[in-house]
């Protein structure tokens, strides 16, 4: 790939031909991502291109220098473009606003329920913090973002079967931790409708 560390260093040294090559290659990649993959209009894709290029090169190429040569520059550029598209409102953000609604519905203006909700939230956050980072990430991807194991496997570069197993183990560890911290609040996890704890919670939807 032409966008490698050597080229970036030449760009940062102010070499004109390298700069031109870099600009052309970035343009192809950015427009390809924005227009070809995210299906933005050509104008919107051009706008993203401009913004990302300015971001890369602004302040003596600070963002360009931030890439430390680890991995591929194209991955770095993809992340920058993706963040720009998401923050620019071109891709819908996750429905964080629904959280308030969920809390409101759960409490229904009942002070006792609100207190219970608060307590349960604290314990849940504590239990999540006690998990290993990889388990926490698995739980978030599966139960917060509601991605299927197949998708998680693709993201983490693992097999679907391994992810199912890891998810099952992580969920089980979270469940055990929650029950240990507050059995009266978290006892019913996975036990309703005659479910047993051996039932896998991570099958594909």
């Amino acid at each position: 790939m032409i966008l490698d560390k050597a080229l970036i260093e030449r760009v940062l040294d102010g070499e004109e031909f390298a700069g031109r090559t870099f600009a052309e290659e970035c343009r192809k990649l950015i427009l390809g991502l924005a227009h070809g993959r995210h299906h933005l209009s050509r104008d919107a894709a051009e706008e993203i291109h401009q913004t990302v290029m300015v971001r890369l090169l602004d302040r003596q190429g600070k963002a360009l220098r931030a890439w430390r040569g680890e991995g591929k520059f194209t991955t770095y550029l993809t992340v920058i473009v993706t963040r720009e598209i998401i923050h620019g409102g071109k891709v819908s953000r996750r429905p964080e606003e629904n959280l308030d609604e969920a809390r409101f519905q759960a409490s229904s203006h009942n002070p006792v329920k609100e207190a219970e909700l608060e307590e349960r939230g604290q314990i849940l956050r504590q239990a999540l913090q006690d998990l290993k980072p990889r388990d926490r990430l698995l739980i978030a991807l599966r139960h917060e973002d509601q991605l299927p194991p197949r998708e998680i496997a693709r993201i983490l570069g693992s097999s679907s079967g391994a992810i199912r197993k890891a998810l099952f183990d992580a969920t089980k560890r979270l469940k055990n931790r929650l029950i240990a911290l507050a059995p009266e609040l978290f006892g019913p996890i996975g036990n309703k409708s005659g479910e047993t704890s051996s039932h896998s919670p991570v099958e594909d939807p």
Partner: protein, 331 residues
Amino acid sequence: MTDSNRYPELEQWLAQSAESPPEDHLEDADIAAWLDGVVQDHRREQIELHLGQCGPCRQVMTESQRHLEPVKEDTPFRPRRLAIAAGLFMVFSLGLIFRLFSGPSTTELQAFTLTSQDLQTLSRDFRRNAHGAAQGSWPAPPNLPLLLGEEAVFRSSDARSAPSPLSPRWSSLSTDSKGFAWQVSSTEESSTRYHLMVVDAEEILVEQATVFATGEPWMEFTFSTPLPLGEAFAWKVTAETRGEWIASEWVPFSTLSSEEEAELESRLKEGRHHPFFAAVAYAEMGMVDAALDHLASLPHTQRNEEAMTKLWSRKHLNPSLESLDRSRFHD
């Protein structure tokens, strides 16, 4: 699969007790390094810890990962459907050939264009396939090969035996040009016939023709009905060699209106002694890709570098030139 298998209580509690995402977010370089799997164990744990807590960073990570998958090297038509469509087309073409010609000679150029009714019937399958493919493997408009470079260009299994489109390439097809030209396969095996396809910006097949080989190293063909002016298209040519069809890349191009064509011709003539003038002329006509293509074809000599500097001095003529110039770190 029912929701009970997904621990709905847990999902609900997580939603109800979700914390606000951290104020500090991961650096894009960290996410990229994590996606590439090149971070040390300690740093990896830190990144994963943050990703587990921060929805916005997780969204950037998952969306980026989704788009990091390589573009499939595929034609706009899925192979199986293409095989069916090609089979239908061949059967239909053979019927027409036997009806129209009593044994076509392969040493003499013989071309036919299907009637509009035939085209309509045949293109139904192509249209359906193109639309189907648009949902999956080839979602982009025909100018994607230009935008993505070689990633999105269809490469045949054996590039040597694929025909190479010569004209139009990236640029415009003017009304008096001789039409579509391509170089035949570079292998010794000669193709017996070629199938030319033109799609519009919506990936709809607008023209197609079968052309029999002449034995010449290059081929050309002109449709009897000119393409609409001032629009964007892409074309490719597929060669049949020993019963195997091998396609070229898709080449985007556009058609000039008669006024634009006259203006371009005048500008090109005016600056024919200057190596960069053609690029400027193309850029001024909005054909930035043709301009870049022209620039790329020029040798990097000192004289050309100086002339290039002059070219950027005319950046006000075209926003794209301006953008490129800004990217060259010149205030």
